[in-house]
Amino acid sequence: MIEVQHVKMVYPNGVGALNDISVSIEQSEFVFIVGASGAGKSTLIRLIGREFLPSSGSIRVFGKEITRLRRREVSMFRRSIGVVFQDFRLLDNHSIFDNVAFAMQVVGATPREVRRRVPESLEMVGLTGKAKMKPHELSGGEQQRVCLARAIINQPSLIIADEPTGNLDPKTSMEIMELLRTINIRGTTVMMATHDSEIVNKMKQRVIRLADGKIERDEQRGVYSHYAH
């Protein structure tokens, strides 16, 4: 599903983030990208979300070389993936319902579809009854659930998440992880950057560890670190 080949990323300010990364991710996998701050986790996630282009190398997602997409194709590609942000990125002046519906409106869904699917999605993330509330009326964990509901509303085959639990307490973080795992079990590939060792160790999923822009370790049912904490 995702084929990253010899990807290098040097930012315009000269800072090198990734150095010859190659990795392959299959359909329905749950993959953690771990590493210290500045290791290149977020850069890799953002490259796969086609937020920007690598300095060199190839990135194929769903069989398509996303580094060569035209502007129009980039929009179409983004519709096929769900994105979860650390800072939620919800529209504060919109209700929870509207925030989730927004993702459907963007792709031109009919109002009837919106009315049917948004409550389903909110139910899945456990936010039934909070549809009319505004994001600032919710806790961090609940806001991240809204972000998840928005990410899955268009039924993407891939979800990329950049530190989705970075702003949450351990208990809430685990709830979000359980949700992501449920989404994953239903067949959606999940790729998540994190530096939360507890979560990674508990989930026992594939772990790709980055260090200084290179893959240091890639293990199935891996742990955050082999060194004792």
Binding site: G49, E51, R71, R72, S75, M76, F77, R78, R79, S80, V83, R89, L91, F102, A103, Q105, V106, V107, G108, A109, T110, P111, R150, N154
Partner: protein, 294 residues
Amino acid sequence: MNINSLKYCLRQSVVSLKRNFWLAVVTSCIIAVSLAILGGFLLMAVNAGQLIRNVESNVEIGVFLYADADVSAVQKQINSLEGVNSVTFVSKDEGLVTFSNSLGDPALLAGLKGEDNPLPDAYRVKATDTALVAGLAESIRAMPGVEMADYGEELVGRILKITGWLNTLFVGISVLLALGAVFLIVTTIRLSVMARLEEIGIMKYLGASDWYIRFPFLLEGMAMGWVGTLVSTIALGLAYSKLATSLRQDAFAFFIRPVTSVEQLAPIFVGLLLLGTLMGGIGSLISVRKFLRV
């Protein structure tokens, strides 16, 4: 873009216009002023064209004779020319009366009657076709006893020269004002964009197409342009119709005959409306462009 997306875009445009209401009003006013000047110039150009045609179609050759000229011999020669429609004799006395009347006070030149009358005898010659006027004037000038044959080529030339200058001046002013209006639209729309920057970023991540993001701003700019131009065309139309009516009633301005035909005026007003709307659209597109690169 489907109907649901279109509805969303329309809603967003209305929200944005409400949010920046006064700025939108100022922008529309600037567009109104700049296009009213452009429209005024266009109306003037159309009327100048008509005036030149009027002058040309009513061209008369004024033939002025020497004091000792054989008046009847000159008339015979003129009548023998091909293309002459009518020849009217204007004696020096009649000429003095006409001239005195044109000055508004017949008593002013009363002392110049009889021997003191400095005006020559003259003929007014009309041609069967305007195209023949220059040739006829040339032939008449060569006749013995004829001092001068003039058909107002200077007037036509002067009108053309003045309208040429005015054209350049008004085009210059209009272009400057139009640029100012576009710049103002860019600024107004940029404020709307800034207010929705976060939303635009999220939209891009969710896969919104550039046009989906751009369209509400485009509508907003076009609405400002359209409203501004509508105001200016209505004002211009009212002012022009008032002016045209008063000119038609004015005996001195009988030769101006302002253009009132719908066929000639409609393209100007419709063109202005389209231009204003287009200016609004262009301003918006310039404004949104750099924010789409996410």
